[in-house]
């Protein structure tokens, strides 16, 4: 109960005036009640308040303070009850008019503040912000101490909801407020958090220095929050070993524990170690630490008795309501599992997380990636360079004279319909991936130019219609819009910068969308996404390659073979880097004094492994396209050229099947069978020597396919 007795002067000030409202007796009683309360003598305070209530019933504040005292008496465990009490008081106050007169709110500021506090601890952040911003409008009349409380609450809320710019603005306001008053420590830490969210490395570094230098004696150890922040900073700069060291130096064993502080530092510690190892590419360690963090979190929750949902928000100290970090941990865990190649487990985790963070477009993208990776099927072996026979031969039926080889139909493998299930039920299916990707795209802001236009037009309209209430709304909105201009919320991690959104997220989402649409047979949509992808300005070489590939396949299915062939020009591929690292401007400047560890940030990744293999894939597909136009010579040329570019072990099953197809088309069943059995392409030179009578290739009987076609119609 750290209240500072401040309003004495206020009271003293009015003592002399003739009393019409409050009697001196009442005031005295109120003063002693407050005194008892600040001294922690709750029962005495309650007695005073009750006596006060007998004298006058007018002031609801007596009742509120009673509720406050009772709340503290319960050890701050009756949060739900207090919330209800405050709510009913608010309704009483506002029965007459919906605050037409703003000054009314100044009178009731404590009521509002307490409500905001409860919203905060119940994680109803937007409600809390709403009230906090309302209070902020009347900051001047408040006494300094209270004004500061309001500001700090808002700063915390802005940071929790990843609005660092707003938080920083408020912190500068606070700077002015507390020129005379005691410099509340922690302001620096808030600033560091804001700069970390904004990824502005320079400002962050400066602020961290001052945080580490102030607020401790020379023999005292650094506080856990400051060490964690510094570690966070080093982690973001890629100094992973240093980050680990800093984390280790925080003495988490001596931390007061979640019941007192509302935070489980041990769980945070393990989680952050997981983050660091993930960034280092040590995924197995990463998953190990995340699991440990989850265990710790479960332990904490059990300790707090969080399991009993019946009496929610009671029995636990209010501050501990924020202790549960389950969703953040599940989010981290899911992403780690996805990278380790366990898409289904990752899907489970991320599905739970997305219920809380459904405004995060990147999280939706990750969910879609889980689905894609879970449905990839046999191509996992393919990616390891081991073409499996299964990719070519589906089965062998009969034996001896009757032996038959059933070729695997890739289109059957690639097209996955999960029948009988609604796509809205989250299963890691391609249908669900499509939904996730649609969400992700919708959550991205429109392209910049468009947005500028709309914003201007909305501003103009609000200018012309100059009723003040209208301008109030637009003001509030444009304030948000400006924030959204630079950052896009990606909770529970730091918000995305605009360029990040454009360069990476949008491209990746479009590429996945195109791929998923192809798998679902939505060729027009696939083409649409692929073309949009190819029009992105900052497209990585890898995704450009995929864009061409997907567009071509969609075009083929739409029977636009010539257009497809244009996409399949191997010259279209000149680079297959996945594209990465955009904070050079941040990074380069301060490299000088502290060398970034060489183990640092990601080396540029490539997909596929090289330009050559990408070109070979294009050539294989080009060969297939030629086949469809019955240009078998060209197809064969593509096939041999592509095969010569690759290690024969790496040749994908589709390419081998193309070889089989060409031999069959050529009437050379024996060679085709040989290719199948050896599972590799064979040089086919002499076959073309006497193609005299093969000029007109035998028309294959087209029944089976046309049958299926008719059936579908």
């Amino acid at each position: 109960l750290l209240f500072i007795f401040k309003s004495e002067q206020n009271e003293a000030k009015h003592d002399g005036s003739p009393s019409l409202g409050m009697t001196d007796q009442e005031k005295e009683m109120a003063a002693s009640a407050y005194e008892a309360f600040t001294a922690g003598r709750c029962d005495e305070a309650l007695r005073h308040l009750e006596a006060l209530q007998e004298l006058t019933k007018e002031d609801y504040k007596i009742a509120m303070n009673k509720a406050v005292v009772e709340f503290y008496k319960s050890g701050q465990t009756t949060t739900g009850l207090l919330k209800q009490t405050l709510m009913s008081m608010k309704n009483q106050v506002h029965t007459s008019a919906e605050d037409v007169d703003g000054l009314d709110d100044v009178e009731n500021s404590f009521l509002y503040y307490n409500q905001a506090i409860i919203h905060y601890y119940m994680r109803q952040f937007s409600d809390a912000i709403c009230i906090g911003e309302k209070l902020y409008q009347f900051l001047e009349p408040f006494e300094e101490k209270f004004a500061q409380s309001v500001c700090f609450l808002l700063v915390d809320l802005y940071l929790l909801t990843f609005q660092p710019e707003k938080a920083l603005h408020l912190l500068t306001v606070l700077d002015k407020l507390s020129v005379q008053g005691s410099n509340k420590n922690g302001k620096g830490e808030y600033k560091v958090r804001a700069y970390i969210q904004m990824k502005s490395s320079k400002a962050c570094k400066r602020e961290i220095k001052s945080v580490m230098n102030t607020g401790r004696g020379c023999s005292m150890p650094y506080s856990a929050p400051s060490l964690f922040l510094k570690s966070n900073f080093e982690y973001l700069r890629g100094n992973y070993r240093k980050a680990v060291k800093l984390l280790n130096s925080s003495n988490i064993a001596e931390h007061a524990g979640p019941i007192k502080t509302g935070e489980c530092v041990r769980c945070m510690f393990w989680n952050n170690l997981g983050c660091i190892h993930f960034a280092m590419g040590k995924h197995n360690l990463g998953i190990f630490y995340f699991k440990k963090a989850l265990q710790e979190n479960d332990h904490t929750c059990a300790q707090l008795g969080d399991g009993s949902n019946a009496k929610k928000f009671t029995g636990i100290p209010m501050c501990a309501l924020l202790a549960n970090k389950r969703y953040e941990l599940l989010y981290n865990c899911g992403i780690q599992l996805l990278h380790i190649g366990r898409p289904l487990a990752a899907f489970e985790c991320l599905m739970e997380a997305v219920q809380v963070y459904h405004f995060n477009p990147r999280l939706w993208l990750r969910l879609a990636e889980c689905c894609i990776s879970a449905n990839k099927g046999g191509s996992e072996q393919e990616s390891k360079g081991l073409p499996c026979k299964k990719g070519i031969v589906q089965s062998v039926v009969g034996q001896g004279y009757h032996r038959k080889i059933i070729l695997a139909s890739q289109s059957m493998q690639n097209t996955t319909y999960s029948e009988g299930q609604s796509a809205a039920i989250p299963v890691a299916s391609m249908e669900f991936a499509a939904i996730c990707l649609r969400n992700a795209l919708l959550l991205l802001p429109e392209h910049q130019q468009q947005e500028l236009k709309t914003e201007n037009s909305s501003k103009n309209s609000s200018q012309s219609g100059s009723t003040e209430s209208g301008s109030e709304n637009s003001d509030a909105c444009s304030g948000k819009g400006q924030d959204a201009d630079k950052f896009l919320s990606a909770a529970p991690s730091s918000p995305l910068r605009k360029q990040e959104v454009e360069n990476l997220s949008r491209c990746s989402i479009l590429a996945c969308s195109s791929y998923v649409a192809l798998a679902l047979g939505d060729n027009l949509i696939a083409l649409n996404h692929a073309e949009k992808l190819l029009h992105q300005t900052k497209l990585s070489g890898s995704l450009k390659f995929l864009g061409h590939l997907y567009a071509a396949e969609a075009l083929i299915s739409l029977d636009r073979i010539s257009d497809a062939i244009a996409h399949l020009n191997p010259e279209n591929v000149s680079d297959v880097s996945v594209g990465m690292l955009m904070n050079e401007q941040d990074q380069g400047s301060d490299k000088g004094d502290e060398p970034v560890e060489s183990s640092g940030k990601q080396t540029p990744l490539c997909y596929p492994s090289s330009v050559t293999s990408a070109r070979a894939m294009m050539l294989f597909n080009l060969g297939s396209a030629y086949c469809l136009r019955s240009e078998y010579d060209k197809a064969r040329k593509c096939l041999t050229q592509a095969a010569s570019m690759m290690n024969s072990k790496e040749i994908p099953p589709e390419a081998i099947l193309l070889g089989v197809y060409l031999e069959l088309q050529n009437g050379n069943t024996q060679l085709a069978l040989q290719i199948i059995k050896r599972n590799q392409l064979l040089p086919t030179t002499q076959q073309r020597v006497s193609p005299d009578f093969r000029k007109k290739p035998i028309q294959p009987l087209q029944l089976p396919s046309s049958f299926t076609q008719i059936q579908r119609k």
């Binding site: 964690f228 038959k404 003040e468």
Partner: protein
């Protein structure tokens, strides 16, 4: 497109070697007994598959039954409408001699014998009744050497070509995916129908039978790589929040002064105050600088106060200078109906602001706040307004204008608006007015001379 095992065994019984002694007519009856119209297409697909696999349908008479049934199922429709017409066209298409032997391609229809060809061409024409009275075995043994062999199928071919042109290229490029691969080491020890039937069953029945799949050039479709980005994971920092429920310190301190002052204030909005009331009010305001926020002066009410008690209004506005709401008070003020009182208040505020800024060393902060806080005010001085000299020094040349520019509420972002309504729009329409001082007057001077106030429409 699959057949149930039961259906398949029925079909196989109809085309079995033993059935070849029945007449075509009775086979047809059998067939229609087992299969309705809805199954015809599926059955036909199986028959075509069997025709493609000579090892499963070795005898000529069986092939005859298969061909007959393919035709029989759709006999009431025009020939070109038969979905299996392409089979007929292909089998009847005279291939160049010499190629015949090599053409044993897997998945293609193997060539048929002369009697079969004859039978098929009969089907293409109007078949004579008695043809179907024969048994398949009889037909297969027919000597067709002197019978007319070829039938003109160009019409059928044309119709088929037309139909195929509507199909996507991709579909047209497909093979059946069943490839014959007889083991060369195994001796063909005669045809065993039970073995064959077993194989047929595995090709035709089940959830995704090989019969359904087809083989065509496939595209390599690598999945996109995992999205690469930085700082994706949620790092957790302990923050030690210390926000707590607070005791309302304003309990019972809403004191008597407040009540009395509020009473005076409510009067002040309606009529001029007495000298005593006015001085009491001003004295209280002087005592408690924050009192001004608590006594009910909202921007909406400002015009009433200005009209009735301009002096009080001035003092209160000066006290409100610190407020973030001051811009709203100002904008109400300049949008008021023009009157001597309102001009007086505006004038006083401008002067006071100026004097504050010129006296304090934090030069110009108030002034600039006043200026920027509402774009509707434009404060300008003919000589440098920022100079901290008292206005008296540069006498008559100074010209202060407070002009009203058209309403444009683009206030700074950090100022919050309380909503208020007022005749702002009407005021905007009246245009702008300017207050001009042609003579310098000390700030504190009581008698200012209002030289001109003009309304420009």
């Amino acid at each position: 497109m699959t057949l149930a095992p039961k259906e398949l065994s029925n079909l196989l019984s109809i085309i079995s070697e033993e059935a070849c002694t029945n007449s075509f007519e009775s086979l047809s009856t059998h067939f229609h007994h087992y299969f309705g119209k809805a199954e015809h297409f599926r059955v036909g697909s199986v028959l075509v598959m069997l025709l493609q696999q000579p090892d499963l349908l070795p005898s000529s008479s069986q092939r005859l039954i298969a061909l007959y049934l393919l035709w029989e199922m759709y006999r009431t429709e025009p020939l070109a409408a038969n979905p299996f017409a392409a089979v007929f066209a292909h089998l009847l298409n005279p291939a160049p001699a010499g190629e015949e032997q090599e053409k044993v391609l897997s998945g293609f229809l193997p060539p048929i014998t002369q009697p079969e060809k004859f039978f098929l061409s009969q089907l293409m024409l109007a078949p004579p009744r008695d043809l179907f009275k024969k048994t398949p075995r009889q037909v297969s043994c027919m000597d067709v050497g002197n019978m007319p062999q070829s039938v003109d199928i160009s019409g059928l071919q044309l119709a088929l070509a037309e139909r195929q042109s509507e199909l996507p290229t991709q579909s047209k490029a497909s093979f059946p995916s069943i490839l014959n691969d007889p083991d060369p080491d195994s001796s063909n020890s005669g045809f065993d129908s039970s073995v064959a039937n077993q194989i047929i069953e595995s090709l035709v029945t089940g959830p995704r039978p090989p019969l359904e799949s087809h083989f065509r050039p496939e595209f390599i479709r690598p999945p996109p790589p995992l999205h690469v980005c930085e700082d994706e994971l949620a790092w957790l920092n302990p923050t030690e929040p210390d926000h707590s429920i607070q005791w309302d310190r304003s309990m019972c301190v809403k004191n008597s002064t407040g009540v009395e002052i509020k009473r005076i204030m409510s009067k002040a909005f309606k009529s001029p105050l007495s000298a005593q009331q006015q001085s009491q009010l001003l004295a209280e305001l002087e005592k408690d600088p924050k009192l001004v926020y608590h006594i009910g002066l909202s921007p909406v009410k400002l015009p009433d106060l200005v009209e009735n008690n301009p002096l009080v209004a001035i003092e209160m506005l000066l006290k409100l200078m610190q407020s973030s709401q001051i811009t709203e008070y100002f904008s109400v003020l300049v949008n008021m109906d023009m009157s001597l009182h309102s001009m007086e208040v505006v004038n006083r505020i401008v002067w006071s602001v100026w004097s504050v800024s010129s006296c304090s060393r934090s030069s110009g902060t108030r002034l600039s706040m006043f200026r920027t806080s509402s774009s509707r005010f434009r404060l300008s001085a003919s000589s440098s307004a920022a100079s901290a000299r008292p206005p008296a020094s540069s006498a008559s040349s100074r010209l202060w204008t407070l002009e009203k520019t058209p309403l444009r509420p683009n206030l700074p972002n950090n100022t919050r608006h309380r909503c208020y309504t007022g005749g702002t729009e009407a005021a905007a329409k009246r245009g702008r007015f300017a207050l001009m001082h042609t003579r310098s007057v000390p700030v504190h001077h009581r008698r200012r001379r209002l030289c001109s106030s003009e309304e420009i429409l």
